[in-house]
Symmetry: C2
Amino acid sequence: MEEDKSDKINDPGSVGLVKTSYFKFADPPDELVLSNGSKLGPITIAYETYGDLNHEKSNAILIFHALTGDAHAAGYNSPEDRKPGWWDIMIGPGKPFDTDKYFVICSNVIGGCKGSTGPSSINPATGKHYGLSFPILSIKDMLVPQKKLLDHLGIRKLFCAAGGSMGGMQLLQWLVSYPDLSQGAMIIATSPTHTAQAIAFNSVGRYTIIEDPNWNNGDYYESEKPDKGLSIARMIGHITYLSEESMHRKFGRKFIDGKQSLTGTADFTKEFEVENYLQYQGESFIKRFDANSYLYITKAIDDFDITDGFENLADALKEIKARCFVLSFTSDWLYPKEQSMKIVKALKINGIETTYTNFESPYGHDSFLIDDERLKRLFAGFLKSIGV
Amino acid sequence: MEEDKSDKINDPGSVGLVKTSYFKFADPPDELVLSNGSKLGPITIAYETYGDLNHEKSNAILIFHALTGDAHAAGYNSPEDRKPGWWDIMIGPGKPFDTDKYFVICSNVIGGCKGSTGPSSINPATGKHYGLSFPILSIKDMLVPQKKLLDHLGIRKLFCAAGGSMGGMQLLQWLVSYPDLSQGAMIIATSPTHTAQAIAFNSVGRYTIIEDPNWNNGDYYESEKPDKGLSIARMIGHITYLSEESMHRKFGRKFIDGKQSLTGTADFTKEFEVENYLQYQGESFIKRFDANSYLYITKAIDDFDITDGFENLADALKEIKARCFVLSFTSDWLYPKEQSMKIVKALKINGIETTYTNFESPYGHDSFLIDDERLKRLFAGFLKSIGV
C-alpha cells in the first residue's frame, strides 16, 4: 500500500505533495470593511499554489472554489491522503491548468472552515469562536482577501481566472469588481442571479441546521454539533448536484444488499441504494464542514445578484475586459444553460470576446468535477487562445 | 362574511355542503392480507360521493388522491370551511366531472390520516395507536379497500377513473389489477416506476422525520409530535411540486417586507419571500397531516414499480381495456413528460386506445390542481369520448 501512495504522489501528472500556506492581513485598526458596513479583522487566508510564477509574473491562474471547496485544489497534503485536491483532474503537469506553464493559485473563502477566517475561527478580540458574531458576507466580500493575496504575491494581472458554481459567481463578481485584472475567464456552471428555486433548496438546508437543537444559536463549538441538521442540508444539496439521469444510471431502483425488505418492520430510509448513498454523503460531510460556515456561505450565494446596483445584466458586465469562456452542462438543472446563456448574451452585447459551450454530460451540476477528456481539451483549448 | 360563505356553498357550480361517509370491513378473522403477507383489520374507509348514481350504475367516476390528499375532493364539509375540497375546480355541476351527469367517488387511502385506517388510528386489538405496528403498504394494497367500497356501492364497472401524481400510480395499478372495471382512465402527472431522484427527495423527507427526537420510533401520539421533521419534509416536497419558472414568477428574489436586511444580525431563513412561503407551507402541513402517514405513504410511492413481476412496461399494461388519456405538464420536473410517454408507448404497443397531451403549463407538478379553462376542456372532452 505504501508503494501505491508514493506512486500517486510521484505520478508525472500530479503536482505531488503540496503545503497549504497562510496569509494574514487586516490587523485592527485596519480591518476589512464588508459590503454591509461591518468590519472583520485580523483575517487569515489559507491558500495553495502549484507551478512557478514566471519572471514577468504573467502566468498566474486564480481558481475560485465552490460552496464546500477549499484551498486544496490539487496534489496531496500528506502521503496518507486517500484523495487528491478537489480539481486535481484539471491541475498538474500536462493537465489543462498546466503547472509546467502556469502558476495556479487557490484560496479558501472567508466565512469558510478550511483555514481561512470564518465563524468557527477564534475571534482574537474575545478569545472565543466567532459563531454568529461573524459578519454576514457577500460574494464580493470573499474577493477582497483574494485580491490582497495577489498583491502579496506581486501579481498585477492574472493570465486567467476560473470557477464553477459558487466559484463562477466569485469570478463574475471578480470581473465586475476588478475588470482590468484578468486576461481570460472561465465561467462555469453558474448563474448571474440566484433564482427562487435555488434559494429554496439552500434555505431549507439552513432551516434544518437552525432547527437542530444542537445548533444553539451558532454556539456549539464546545458542545455537541448540529450534525443531523448539517447532514440533512448536505443530502438536500447533493440531490441538486446530480442529474436525474446520473442518479438513474448510478442507482436506479437498486436495493441495498440486492433485495427489498418489505418485512413489516418498517425501515423507511434504508432500503434503496440511493438512500444509503445520500446518508453516506451527509455523514462524511459533517466530518469536514462547519454548520455555521454552511449558513454563511449559502446565504452569500442566495444573496448573489450581479445586477445589483446596475440597470440590467449587460450594464453590470459592461466593463469586463477579459476574454470569456462560458460553460454550462446539458444535465445541470440547478444552474441550467439558460443562466449561462444570459451571461453570454450580456457579454456579447458589450462586444466582449466570448466563447460558449453547452457541454453534453449526464452528470448534472457536478459535471465540471468529472474526469472527462473532452472537457480537458476544451479547457486547454481556451487557455491556449488567451492573449493570442 | 356569513353571506360570502353561503354564497360559495350555494354557487351553482359547487356540490355545496357534503358529508364524509365511512365504510367498515375486514373485521377479524377476515382481515385484509397485504402484499407483504401481513394482515390489517378491521379497516375503515373515509369516502365522499358527489352527484347521483344512475339506475344502471354506469355513471360512476372514481378519483384517486395524491400523497397528501384525502376523500374530501369537492364542496364544503362545513359552512365555516375556508376552502373547498382539493379538486373542486374539476368536480361539480357543469364542471368536467359533471355531477349533473356523473356519480363521483373519492376515498382516503389506507395508511392515511384523514378518516381511513392508518398508523394514527387506534388498533382495536391493543387499544393503542398503531404507530410502527401498522404494516408496510404498497400502492396495490391501497386499492383493495377502494374495490370493496365499489362492491359495497353496487358498482360493477366505472365509467371512468382518474388520478394525478400518486393518484396516477394508483390508477395505473388499478388498471393492471382490475383490467375490466373501467371504461375510461385519466392518468395524470405520474410515473410508471419511481425514479432514483424522486426516491431521493422522499427519502430525505422521511429521514428528517425519523431524525426528529420527537418521532420516538413512531410512538408520539401521547406526546410532542415530530413537527419539525415533518415540516421540513413538506418543504422539501413542496419545492419539487413547483417549477423553477413558477417560483420565479411568484417570488423571484423578492425580500420579505420589500427590503434586504444585511444587518450583521444573521437571520438565515427569513429574508426572501420564497423562504417565508416554504416555512408557511411546512407549518400549515403539520396541522393537517400525520408524520407516520407521511412515512408509510411516501414509502409506498417509492416502492411503486408497475413493472414488478412483468417483463417490461408493455407486458405489465397488456391486459388494460380502458380507453386511456395520459397527461403530463411541460414544467413538471418531478414526473417529467418522458415518464408519461413511456406509459403511452406501452399502451400503444398493446393497441390500447390512448390519447396523450403534454400540457403547456408553467406551474410544475401541481399543474393538475390549477384552475385552467383549457385543462377543463381537455378533461371534459376526454370524458365525452368515453364509450363513444
